[in-house]
Symmetry: C2
Subunit: 178 residues, 2 copies
């Protein structure tokens, strides 16, 4: 079966700080046309960080789209043209004040391929230690560091505090490592 | 620490078929204001379906935002006001022509909580069998059913065909069930 949709026209609807929105007119495999709503995003990194006490490191923060506080693994947007490894080192420092002997690349995935191109690069921070030089934090980010054992993680999932896809993937990866 | 951001103003920027876009002006915990770009989505279901031959069921389809073919678990949007269980039964029928003795609810998660409120409801379809009555498929969806063993799944991940968050969560759930 032929699957490819050929892009005939792109309309830029919105240019934002985090996301842009395009409407694409595409030709379907049967020759008909359809509209596709596409969110463009620079991509992001997410970091699995386990302390010497075998606790996973989470960031507690407010999420405006959900209207609630969440616990998520350290993460952040990739700057245009930036190597994701560099983003990961920076975000780990900014959000957790940890650095690692090594940031092992695990995998990439798309968070919501039906309507967005956001690509997530996941790393495992090996051998955490406090940073020597603290990088400045974003002025509109209010974050709190939380370290949880695996039973505490399961509890936070049950309570709906751990509730996003990248963090569930990180937790399941940790469980599969045990 | 106080985390809540109070919504002061909502600007509707775009109303689409799949997504809407709002710009919210929020008051931060320190009293300052910030803008939040928020994608509104009705939510979706995703289904872990394992055949009697211990193969996982995937849908092969074109994803316009990524410009590539992917293999994803059966999934689909929830209609306004619809019970996610009903969505799951319908999507399993439409996309795979299977029905299940039981659709066990597993969990929910947000695919990309930094900029979207899309909530995913995940189910496990227990005891698959061919449907008696086939529901009509969407005219602009070109789908192919693919059944893969766990080693074939690992290969598809390595090749970048299995590359989205809900499908990775489904695969890891399957591995943790083994």
């Amino acid at each position: 079966m032929e699957f490819e949709e050929k892009v005939k026209k792109v309309e830029h609807v919105f240019d934002g700080k985090i996301i842009d929105l395009d409407i694409e007119t595409v030709e379907l495999p049967n020759g008909k046309e359809a509209k596709r709503e596409i969110i463009r995003h620079q991509g992001a990194v997410a970091i699995i960080a386990i302390t010497d006490e075998n606790k996973m490191v989470f960031i507690k923060q407010w999420r405006a789209p959900l209207g609630q506080v969440t616990l998520e693994v350290p993460a952040g947007k990739i700057e245009p043209g930036e190597d994701p490894n560099v983003t990961a080192v920076r975000e780990l420092n900014e959000e957790t004040r940890f650095e690692a002997d090594k940031l092992e690349f695990i995998n990439t995935f798309y968070t919501s391929p039906g309507f967005a191109d956001e690509k997530m690069y996941m790393y495992h921070a090996v051998n955490l230690k406090p940073v020597k030089d603290e990088l400045p934090q974003d002025s509109d980010e209010f974050l709190e560091l939380v370290e949880l054992s695996l039973p505490e993680v399961e509890q936070a999932i049950a309570e709906g505090l751990i509730c996003d896809s990248k963090t569930l993937i990180a937790v399941m990866y940790w469980k599969l490592m045990q």
